[in-house]
């Protein structure tokens, strides 16, 4: 079996690895090589925090056992690529090795944003993206850190705060917006997470921006200064103000780049036989009116990989994302979202329904268009079924139909509190309609959790 062609994938994250797996599924012959400097084996970046907190060992974050790659004849190379010769189809690695390709897939992921703050390169100041970042964070917080400041209130920020709390480090959280993740979350949800952050004894400061990071004179951080002039002493600073495509080594080449590597709907770059997927790719045109030009989540990385594999296998397949979904966990509160729920909306165009449980830790929001058809939902503190909302949103169900059938969407474990019926009751009341309220079985009512 002589290889028909050699596909080299640069980056072994979810995008690159998914692409490699589907290439092998679809073609037994092609030669596949995956290169990454970070680690030899694919691991789940999303689980880095759990390694730090002792929930898992690093090896647990690897979704496939090590024999998997050999069995599927996916060659793994651990090396940093420093230069690409697109003309000669050659990669130059840090170790001095060169690798030639017939087709190249760039899946180089992201890197943490640094906005040129004074002091951003001091010891004890770092972002969290890679395995190396995790190791650095373990080293930086090994001893002598009592206070830490997190700059930027996003998903990685709250993860970092939780990690630091594990080491009993006092955390101050600087958020530029008026509430936690307020650029994505509506006010009530943002408030809810904010309350929970404070419940965990983090000092959450909204409307606060970083001015500079102050050195102790020996190159280590000793405090940060905010725009309002306040100085907060700290021995560690987490920079989590977003990420951007990791493409520095590709800038200034014949490859067309903007913030990310520019691609069309087939993930083709301006160069023949060169593709880009995952966090590092930037679409020339939005793949869908509700989507961004750069998609920086796990799920989209996976879908890019699945889709591109088809194109390389000779079935040109444009990227058509389905109904949006995402999820996260804010300390103890789980969050899922399906469809479109923006941070703010035009009241005249959008019908809003919001329910919050008296505990202040569980809530549900549904937005509908002015005709009453569902646009999207947010749920916090309880679980809803992806399949249900994928269908409801795709088929443009009316909000009433969604709520009426909400018990079918319940994804909480058995015996959990019947939030669904509370939501239905509130919806019926607000809209002055009668609705059959879903009731859990007698047994569940007897021993299950109460509202």
């Amino acid at each position: 079996m002589s290889p028909s062609k050699h596909i080299v994938i640069l980056g072994n994250g979810i995008a690159g690895i998914t692409c490699a797996r589907h290439l092998r599924k679809g073609d037994d012959k092609i030669q596949i090589t995956v290169i990454s400097g970070e680690s030899k084996y694919f691991f789940s970046r999303t689980a880095l925090m759990y390694v730090y907190m002792g929930h898992m060992k690093f090896e647990h974050t690897q979704p496939y056992e090590n024999w998997f790659w050999e069995k599927n004849r996916i060659d793994l190379v651990q090396d940093w690529v420093e230069k690409v010769d697109f003309e000669g189809k050659k990669l130059y690695c840090q170790s001095g090795k060169t690798i030639t390709y017939d087709q190249l897939v760039l899946a180089t992921g992201s890197k943490p944003n640094k906005f040129g703050w004074p002091g951003q390169d001091l010891t004890g100041v770092q972002g969290l993206y890679s395995k190396q970042d995790l190791e650095l964070m373990e080293k930086n917080t090994e001893s002598g850190v009592k206070q830490a400041v997190i700059v930027g209130g996003g998903l990685i920020g709250i993860e970092m705060a939780e990690m630091l709390a594990y080491k009993n480090i006092e955390v101050t959280f600087l958020v530029r917006e008026s509430g936690f993740w307020r650029n994505i979350l509506p006010e009530e949800e943002s408030e809810m997470v904010g309350r929970h952050i404070r419940e965990h004894h983090f000092d959450l400061r909204v409307n606060t921006e970083l001015e500079e990071i102050i050195s102790d004179g020996s190159g280590k951080v000793k405090a940060v200064k905010t725009k309002s002039g306040e100085e907060i002493p700290c021995q560690f600073v987490g920079l989590t103000a977003g990420v951007s495509p990791n493409i520095d080594f590709l800038k200034g080449t014949e490859l067309d780049v903007d913030r990310g590597i520019l691609v069309d709907q087939l993930f083709q770059t301006n160069l023949k036989d060169v593709f880009a997927i995952g966090d590092c790719a930037q679409f020339r045109e939005k793949p869908d009116k509700n989507r961004n030009l750069i998609e920086q989540v796990w799920y989209t990385g996976r879908m890019h990989g699945e889709t591109l594999a088809q194109t390389i296998l000779g079935k040109p397949t444009p990227y058509k994302p389905g109904v949006w979904f995402n999820s996260a966990k804010f300390l103890d509160i789980e969050y899922q979202t399906y469809g479109q729920v923006p941070a703010d909306w035009d009241e005249s165009q959008v019908l809003n329904f919001y329910w919050e449980h008296s505990s202040g830790k569980v809530c549900f929001r549904m937005l509908c268009d002015s005709d009453g058809r569902i646009l999207g939902v947010n749920n916090f503190g309880f679980r809803l079924r992806h399949e249900f909302f994928d269908k409801a949103i795709r088929e443009q169900w009316s909000g009433q139909k969604v709520i009426q059938n909400l018990d079918k969407a319940n994804f909480d474990p058995e015996f959990f509190a019947p939030y669904i019926s509370a939501i239905q009751r509130k919806y019926a009341e607000e809209n002055n309609i009668t609705m059959k309220i879903s009731k859990p079985s007698f047994f569940k009512r007897l021993i299950g959790a109460k509202l």
Partner: protein, 514 residues
């Protein structure tokens, strides 16, 4: 809070120390009367003669006493064996009853005091330690630091705990004569409950039950916000206390056969042994009821309940082995091996044990109906082999002693023949499955890490495939620890339950099998 926990820890360790020291107390003096009281008629004469040189001598340690006693019997036996007089050999091991009767120790005078100082303090300490756990913390997953722990990640504390447990089991199963002090300590309790003197099994049952109760309290604390975990923990606590411990003892008090209504063949491998069948058939209506109940559980109960709820109805809600694994074993659940290789080994081993149990039972029954003419000797040897290798070594020593090394379900996963049977029903004819939530999995690995059965849950979750595995005991912990709400234990229609070629939703570009 820390303060109370510290006191708890101190009490626990004090109790454990007392428990460890108590077996060394007292002196042993044997007499002819003791020998006659504690040996079978056929052996009385011989034993009386063999042990005569020991009469009246005071032995200050159990070691010298038991060594000499065994020596005397062994010498006699080897002579007979050399002459091939097999039928005269004394096969019975009298060391436990003789040691128990020969002991004179302060424990006998103050059994309640010693019980309190040892087991009592460990229980109290355990409660003090567990009750304030996570107090003042919001509800949530409490797995912080598990892999940094010396206890829960095969550190020195775990090794020490495992070694202690193994030692305890070895003594319990094969050298119970060394723990007669401990048995004396629970004598009055046994008299109250069953009217009978205590055996090492009564002691073991008591410790076992208390361990499940104390560590069950820990489960309530750890899974504060998780109703499913709390209810199933309450369930195993109840079944262990009532069905495995109290009811059988009370039955004996009422002159009925000792019977654990929730123990099912082939886990209860001796259910069809002739002496047990005889006990039941000679105990009137209630005995008959027990026999029929036991058989109904096997042929109707297991398939029916497993069809509706999966094997979890037994393994993580009712079973005693499961009860211990889910409470005492919970801190070690992450140590199970998740590799494909261990799954292969698991299937060979567990089905091997099932075949062995079935063959042995079939022989036993054939033997019974042929009035012991059919392969009588082979059956007996099989019984003792199974009892030793599977019943004691595998289920006890490895099953529990290996918690800190290989996780809390070693026996349930690799050995239990009932689990194999339940598993077959669960795999092929059941409404139970773990549903995955569309495309929401981020492959983080929490689920696989915390699956005590070593199921690589993530493998399925990340490709959107339902988890339908014969070994899943439905503990629900994978679902609890998943940070993205991907897993749900469900009973539902059989249609679409097994989806070998799942499609991840959310990508309209292609419809692909993940």
């Amino acid at each position: 809070m820390k303060y109370i926990q510290l006191i708890g820890l101190t009490l626990f360790l004090t109790g454990l120390l007392a428990f460890t020291v108590i077996p060394f107390l007292g002196e042993y003096t044997i007499s002819e009367a003791i020998v006659l009281d504690n040996t079978k008629d056929i052996h009385q004469e011989k034993m009386k003669e063999l042990l005569a040189p020991m009469y009246g001598k005071e032995y200050s340690s159990s070691f010298s006493f038991i060594r000499e006693l065994n020596q005397k019997v062994d010498d006699y036996n080897s002579e007979l064996k050399a002459e091939s007089k097999w039928d005269q050999v004394i096969w019975d091991d009298y060391s436990f009853p003789l040691a128990k009767a020969s002991l004179s120790s302060p424990v006998q005078n103050h059994p309640w005091l010693f019980l309190f100082v040892s087991i009592g303090l460990t229980v109290l300490g355990g409660l003090f330690y567990n009750l304030p756990k996570f107090k003042g913390e919001p509800e949530g997953i409490k797995n912080n630091g598990i892999f940094h722990s010396k206890m829960k990640n095969r550190g020195w504390l775990g090794m020490l705990t495992g070694s202690y447990l193994i030692l305890f089991y070895v003594i319990l199963y094969w050298f119970p004569a060394y723990m007669v002090n401990l048995v004396w300590m629970v004598e009055p309790l046994s008299l109250i409950l069953s009217g009978n003197p205590a055996s090492q099994w009564f002691l073991y049952g008591l410790i076992y039950t208390l361990a499940i109760l104390v560590m069950g309290v820990r489960m309530f604390r750890k899974y504060k916000g998780n109703r499913y975990q709390q209810i199933r923990t309450a369930s195993v606590m109840f079944f262990q206390t009532a069905f495995a411990f109290l009811i059988p003892e009370i039955l004996v008090l009422l002159n009925k056969p000792y019977f654990d209504f929730k123990n099912i063949w082939p886990l209860d491998y001796s259910f069809f042994y002739d002496y047990r069948i005889e006990t039941l058939t000679s105990s009137g209506a209630i005995g008959m009821f027990m026999l029929i109940w036991g058989i109904l559980l096997i042929v109707v109960g297991v398939p029916l309940f497993t069809y509706f709820y999966g094997k979890r109805w037994y393994c993580s809600w009712v079973c005693g082995c499961g009860g211990l694994a889910e409470t005492v074993g919970d801190p070690y659940r992450q140590l199970s091996d998740k590799s494909l290789k261990s799954w292969k080994i698991e299937r060979y081993l567990i089905h091997g044990v099932l075949v062995l149990a079935v063959v042995m039972t079939a022989l036993t029954i054939a033997n019974y109906f042929s009035a012991f003419s059919f392969l009588g000797n082979v059956t007996n040897q099989l019984h003792s082999f199974y009892g030793f290798a599977i019943g004691s070594a595998f289920a006890g020593v490895v099953g529990t002693g290996f918690y800190p090394f290989m996780g809390n379900r070693v026996w349930c996963r690799f050995g239990c023949p009932l689990a194999a049977y339940l598993g077959m029903v669960q795999r092929f004819k059941s409404r139970f499955r773990i549903t995955t939530n569309g495309g929401q999995c981020i492959s983080c690995g929490n689920c696989s890490t915390y699956c005590e059965m070593g199921i690589d849950v993530r493998w399925y979750a990340q490709r959107g495939q339902n988890i339908v595995r014969s070994s899943c005991v439905g503990c629900g912990v994978c679902s609890a620890v998943c940070p993205r709400g991907v897993l749900k234990l469900e009973n539902g229609p059989e249609e679409g339950r097994i989806n070998e070629m799942p499609i991840l939703i959310g990508n309209d570009s292609v419809k692909l099998n993940a």
